[in-house]
Symmetry: C2
Amino acid sequence: METFGDIIKTERESKGLLLRQVASALEIDQAIISKFERGERKPTKEQVEKFAEFYDLDKNKLITSWLSDQIANTILYEENIGEVLKVAEEKALYLKTIHNGK
Amino acid sequence: METFGDIIKTERESKGLLLRQVASALEIDQAIISKFERGERKPTKEQVEKFAEFYDLDKNKLITSWLSDQIANTILYEENIGEVLKVAEEKALYLKTIHNGK
DNA sequence: ATTTGTTTTGACAAAAATAGTCAAATTAAT
DNA sequence: ATTAATTTGACTATTTTTGTCAAAACAAAT
């Protein structure tokens, strides 16, 4: 159950980097990166991509982690989590076919 | 594949109500309701609940519809929709047990 | 085809949520 | 204890979302 924050923190530590170093490389304030690592703030998609490139991670995998964090948070306190997600998937796939069809 | 907008529009029409009437009953500007019905804007949770009460609909069902609309929109243009949602569900359920355990 | 009634659109303002900056406080390591 | 790293929090800036309103578009009917 790895969150986006877990991933980038593990990655940074395994490479022996300091927040300051990552911050200067990515041009993101180190306080913010600290918050990302602990899940206190959510990065933008552009930031997620920067992290993927910098740590040489699979971009889709990292985006999946980031997006699923967000979705998990929005439904956390709801009743029918499974149902909501099932319907959401149907809608997303449906909308996708519509778009492609146009 | 009924969106929140579809539901409240169908409901309004089946009851033969005008936007103006619903607007005054719920104290929501009629232009906004028009936009909700066509999916141009997303209501807040409080507004969703107002609609459920006013049209006498199952609150959870309506919230499911509303939430799934939102989630569908956020993942629409992503690659691995199924994967994202699967991971999101795992995370949500996991976070839920954590919270309950505390 | 003009009047009357309804819905939709769009420009704008207000409010809320999110993001960034920075220094001080805290924590960890030596 | 000193030095170094991380975390916190107050503050500002920016972006996103929401609400308001009137005019435009549309529909129905006479």
